[in-house]
Symmetry: C2
Subunit: 205 residues, 2 copies
Amino acid sequence: MKAKLEEILHQSSRLMAKKAYHGTSMRDLACQTGHSVSGLYNYFKNKEELLYLINYNGFSAITDTLNRTLETMHGPQERLYALIYNHIHYFMAHRDEMKVMMMGTQEMALEKSRVIREIKDKYTQTSQEIVREIYQAETGAAPDKKEISRKTFLLFGMMNWIFGWYSPKEHGDTEALINDVYTTFLHGLSGEKTSFPACAGLFKK
Amino acid sequence: MKAKLEEILHQSSRLMAKKAYHGTSMRDLACQTGHSVSGLYNYFKNKEELLYLINYNGFSAITDTLNRTLETMHGPQERLYALIYNHIHYFMAHRDEMKVMMMGTQEMALEKSRVIREIKDKYTQTSQEIVREIYQAETGAAPDKKEISRKTFLLFGMMNWIFGWYSPKEHGDTEALINDVYTTFLHGLSGEKTSFPACAGLFKK
DNA sequence: AATATGAATGAACGTTCGTTCAGAAACTAC
DNA sequence: GTAGTTTCTGAACGAACGTTCATTCATATT
């Protein structure tokens, strides 16, 4: 009953990860899950709700495990590592769901997309807080709000883009990946600013 | 004539950036461009070709400007900065196109997707070469192929994810963003590896 | 003025879309 | 074995999809 919905959500993620939301038809999904088309509607109200449930379950899971982990960690570096470890490990175990979750909430009803946005905002806020703490701990300087925001999103970029290229065979195991992200971000954060004003002028708009 | 196709491609990017490929209908596009539905077919063979042209023009432009710029730059740091500057500036000026280009080539005919993949592969190769050079220059160590590959993709992640969050008002101007990416990656690359083996055990699978 | 050329159109084609619904099938409880 | 309940299904719905085509329109050439 509940397990069947979970299976439908997973298969739905597999299809939508390949062909996107509008490219995946209810008939495709019925074929993939072994149900009839009409039978699927016993488990959810409509197609749009599928997208919502995948997003809701995914983002809820990732924030829940992070918050539970952070309760026992208080050092800035450990907390940053926990954030990265949690994020990447979740997405490694749910790559199709991840891709669907990256697609945005455009196709959802307004109220549903607001629920998802709130979870994401809270996750972003937690992450920015961790980045702010470690910035202060590493540099001792007063953190600029815009800069913290930018750098947090750069971290997200490194982590979220993984689904587009990573394969263990070609790029090493997950631990190496996590360490690269952690090392890159930590040292990058505390590195002194280096600009190339002379260089920038060389490019024509 | 050619200008009208360019305009159609741009409007197509705008729509597809919002609603994805399958979510954008020929009728939507006709309405957006002011043409009739059938009139659009004077400018391209079919809908799938639209996706191809957006991708081809975009990736061609970005690689062409990069290659032209790299011809006059020989220092590893300058070359890295040029890569980042070129990538981010192009995507800032073509955000909708960028989003479409990130959607992948799943909906294209096989031969067309192969053309796109070849351009992307060459761009990746050039970037990896730059990263390899700077890794050697900064650390003096022999570069591990897998590590270079991973870190190059982390750089791409920081840059490609920008379209999902950046707004000048909230996160500062483009130059600050470019500098953050450059600084983060440069210092992150040469930073010594820091791992948390004790920490990793704290997480349950 | 007549003709040739390419651009643009409305109507229609056959498919496929998400969704519904009356009823069959399967399972429980008495 | 019968009645009640839940699970599932095939057929069908109207709407929207990408694409085609016989025309019309606009412009340029002779």
